[in-house]
Symmetry: C2
Subunit: 220 residues, 2 copies
């Protein structure tokens, strides 16, 4: 199954439309945008738009999937480097991702036109949480030692993902007063040990919160 190698014009047009949309969302939000706005910003004929996408929303979805796969790719490489700091490293990288695209996410997560962004993100983060829980080295030993009452891992993953996104929304709406590193430290501390136990994640040696918060902020 060799890819037919797409026509250069196709790639170019799609790229232009995607970039135009994301830029306009940051500037004016999503809801009020028309297909005309987007094609004008992209310098592309309006009819061309419909050669590639059914409607505005499909363009949004496809544009975001690109970013979302970046998110998922953040975690995969960590699968091999299993260690006790695996969990907090993953968490820091997640926060960093949202910092990198804060302008866009701020609009998409709080503006009314957020459309399906929040539910989709919830699923993605939730899956990542389950993935981390399943892969953690200490996971098995902990669950073995503590055959605790079983609460659906999927529920805990949604709890965790919701907490993460709630934190991110606060973070973005307050112009990121903490660094990604600090946010990760706070977040991990808040989960400990109720959630970490439930997910069977190691919560071995968390750095003291006061130390992390006292350190200089590299992101702002």
């Amino acid at each position: 199954m060799v890819q037919p190698k797409e026509d250069r014009r196709i790639q170019r047009t799609r790229q232009l439309l995607s970039t135009a949309l994301l830029k306009l969302i940051e500037e004016r939000g999503y809801d009020s945008l028309t297909v005309n706005d987007i094609t004008e910003q992209a310098n592309v004929g309006r009819a061309t738009f419909y050669l590639h996408y059914e409607d505005k929303e499909q363009l949004l979805v496809e544009s975001l999937e690109e970013m979302f796969s970046q998110l998922e790719d953040l975690i995969d490489p960590l699968s091999e480097a299993l260690g006790e700091e695996h969990h907090s490293t993953a968490t820091r990288l997640l926060f960093q991702h949202f910092a990198d695209h804060h302008g866009l996410y701020r609009v998409l997560l709080t503006e009314k036109g957020a459309a399906m962004v929040f539910p989709r993100l919830l699923e993605i983060i939730s899956q990542i949480a389950e993935q981390i829980a399943g892969q953690d080295v200490i996971s098995k030993s902990v669950s073995a030692k503590q055959p605790q009452t079983r609460v659906s891992t999927n529920l805990v993953a949604h709890y965790v993902a919701g907490a993460f996104l709630g934190s991110v929304i606060w973070w973005l709406n307050n112009n990121r007063p903490y660094s990604a590193q600090q946010m990760a430290a706070i977040y991990v501390h808040l989960m400990d040990p109720g959630v970490t136990k439930a997910l069977g994640i190691a919560s071995a040696e968390l750095p003291e919160l006061s130390d992390v918060l006292a350190s200089s902020n590299s992101t702002l």
Copy 2:
């Protein structure tokens, strides 16, 4: 400032429109609805709609504010009955509220047309969390004994609210396999003690999770 006592027709029309909208949302989602759909369902002239609301969204907002105030009213009466079980009672009532309106919330929290529902709910739940934190009897003594590193209460409140909504979404999407009581117990356990400490909330004597989950389910 005596209210001019609104014309009965006004109340009637607004009630009809609100009811029609909420019913249609449950059946067909929000986005695809037209003003015509709504007025038809309500048996009201389309022109009449514009005598009361600017657009579809304003009707949605005003209709939901009614439910949201129910949410906030759930907590207020508890302010007087301060006790160690205050927190878990409040949590149970919150879950119960979402169970009572599960059909509507399921659509609004997961369908793409959710519009501004999620951000709004996040703010409401977050405020409730701060309110509970501020009022809890044990709050002061704990914070006094533990002058721990200060993390913005507002951040923790958003963490808590996000976790709550993440849990609710899982709950509704899985047809509420646990009762509101059980969900509350799980939720409180997951927060303990990381969050409870940060908010200065009592986490005194939580019932054993296994006991709660073993008890018969009164909601399903």
